[in-house]
């Protein structure tokens, strides 16, 4: 009796009645694309972590195209819609502070050389200009110079005014 039960169980499990198991299966696809990484910081360079980010596409500046939150390093990444050139506006805000940045994103048509293996084929390459990190992160030497001169003159000039000899 026992033997017949074991046999029937083995038959049941091996003869294709069983369903494929999905729970432990894994599949990974990949797609190469170009993303825009925005980094938000406070004035002192501290990352603006967990700030709200809203992206507006070039053809609709009123309706948000996507929304998200910056990570711990103040970064927010999004992949612009392919073929949609123009200025992508990104609005980042946290506790009443924030900034709006306009990012130029262009799809450039590039003809590949004849000798190349994919000859005579047009390629669309996304081009995103990178913002100058010195603009936001630190003051230029000209700014520092103007600041130093104006502050020194402000203090010195005022001190001299008050300690001038009364006539």
């Amino acid at each position: 009796m026992k033997c017949s039960r074991v046999l029937s169980f083995l038959l049941f499990t091996t003869c294709g009645i069983s369903q494929p198991v999905f729970a432990h299966g894994a599949k990974i696809d990949y797609q190469q694309t170009s993303a825009i990484v925005v980094r938000a910081t406070f004035d002192d360079g501290t990352p603006m972590a967990n700030a709200q980010a809203i992206v507006y596409s070039p053809n609709d500046l009123d309706t948000p195209w996507t929304k998200g939150v910056t990570d711990e390093s103040g970064k927010f990444t999004f992949v612009p819609e392919s073929g949609l050139s123009g200025n992508w506006d990104v609005k980042i805000r946290k506790s009443g502070h924030g900034k709006i940045i306009s990012i130029p994103f262009e799809i450039q048509k590039q003809v590949v050389e004849v000798n190349s293996p994919i000859a005579n084929k047009d390629q669309s390459l996304p081009v995103v200009s990178e913002s100058d990190p010195t603009v936001n992160s630190a003051y230029s030497w000209q700014q520092k110079m103007i600041m130093s001169v104006s502050i020194t003159w402000g203090f010195l000039g005022t001190a001299l005014f008050f300690f001038r000899k009364q006539t």
């Binding site: 406070f42 002192d44 709006i100």
Partner: protein
Amino acid sequence: MHIPDGFVAPSICIAGYGISGGMIWYSLRVIKQDRFSQANIPKSALFTAVFFVASLIHIPAPPPLTSFHLVLNGMMGTLLGYYAFLAIPIGLFFQAVMFQHGGMSTLGLNAVIMGLPAIVAYSLFRLRSKIPQKRQFLAKALAFLSGSSAVLLSALIFASISISTISPEFDADAEKFAIYISLGSYLIQAFIEGLFTVMIVSFLERVKPELLKI
């Protein structure tokens, strides 16, 4: 505590310019009656430079609070009186142009946020004349109150404007929570700026007491 460009409706920006314009007009009227304007104008210029630079001094705050920069509008009001409402917009203008703190469209609004509390600080500090000479501790406490109350008042105005102008595309609850958290750092800032005002007032009392007469 600077409201940036593009985060508030144009009508609010215009209202900010209207209120600050009215305050500047009134301040100029008061200054016109000042007998010592020749001496007070360079003093205002000096403190405008201090106000302009103060925004670059960052003080770290314990997490989850972020660091904050000095505003010193309380000190400005305490030492300059109505001259402060001329000095603050000028300082804000240069901060917006050179350091991108705030913005040109919100200049009037930011002037209201920082200028009106400066006038309140001045009104508080004027009560000093009623304190008897023997009670110097009370005079110091009044200087502290003037310096710190202006920052707190500015923070409250800033928070109310920020909360009331959250655009619908943002998560309003998350933004409100972040604003309430940031009020904690303004509390520390108010304490520091109150102490700073006491130090400046005490120093001027000893070195050049006539500078305190506005």
